[in-house]
Symmetry: C2
Subunit: 133 residues, 2 copies
């Protein structure tokens, strides 16, 4: 199957402009073209795009994604380096999750303070006491 840029955008969740942008900066190999010169994305293109958006979601900078994309073009010999990049990113995602968990705890603590105010249990202004607990 092949897909117009509009369809590829819909399926990937990226905008049409972003698809062309990704191609320009070499995140994406230039897709095939139809007889009229319009882009025709393959299922493989969409699969790669899906993986790219996962990497983006993890906060990987475009610079690193470009590095990964470039390695991929260099075939199987680059597999070790690619794996290393992914392992590195895995670590950073795990760290980020832990960090967010910590923030969640702070938010819960604050929200609970506000809830206590609402119940008029006691009237300490929540934002006057830091986040000590």
């Amino acid at each position: 199957m092949s897909y117009s840029i509009a369809e590829a955008a819909r399926r990937s969740g990226l905008s049409i402009d972003t698809l062309r942008y990704y191609e320009r900066i070499k995140l994406l190999d230039p897709p095939a073209r139809d007889t009229a010169g319009r882009r025709a994305y393959s299922d493989e293109d969409l699969g790669w795009l899906a993986f790219l958006t996962k990497l983006r979601t993890t906060g990987m900078p475009i610079k690193s994604m470009r590095e990964y994309a470039s390695l991929r073009r260099h075939g199987v010999a680059s597999a070790g380096r690619r794996k290393a990049l992914l392992v590195d990113q895995r670590r950073s995602v795990a760290e980020r999750i832990a960090e967010l968990q910590g923030c969640l705890d702070v938010l819960d603590y604050k929200i609970d303070n506000y809830a206590q105010i609402e119940r008029k249990a006691f009237g300490v202004e929540p934002d006057m006491e830091g986040i000590s607990a």
Copy 2:
């Protein structure tokens, strides 16, 4: 206790420039000044700063933090609205964590594929098969 801007930067993990920037955009109430006109941050200032950096870490945009900061200046009457903002942010953090967990799974799957190549168990190029599993 009161702290110079350098000390406040060290303790908050923000840069000196960022502290002045936060003050300019009204995230931070102007701190006290010493006799020479230099900023003198209080423990309360640092507590608020610590909370702000938590919010930043969660990805809250500065615009929303400004709203929260502004509400805080309006005293206890704004507590309900502030709580609502935090509850909202709590939800978005929880979503983000779930999203990252999903990415972690994809990364693990890919990394495992690379590991199998290394063991030469079989030789499918990991980036040629999408993220179907």
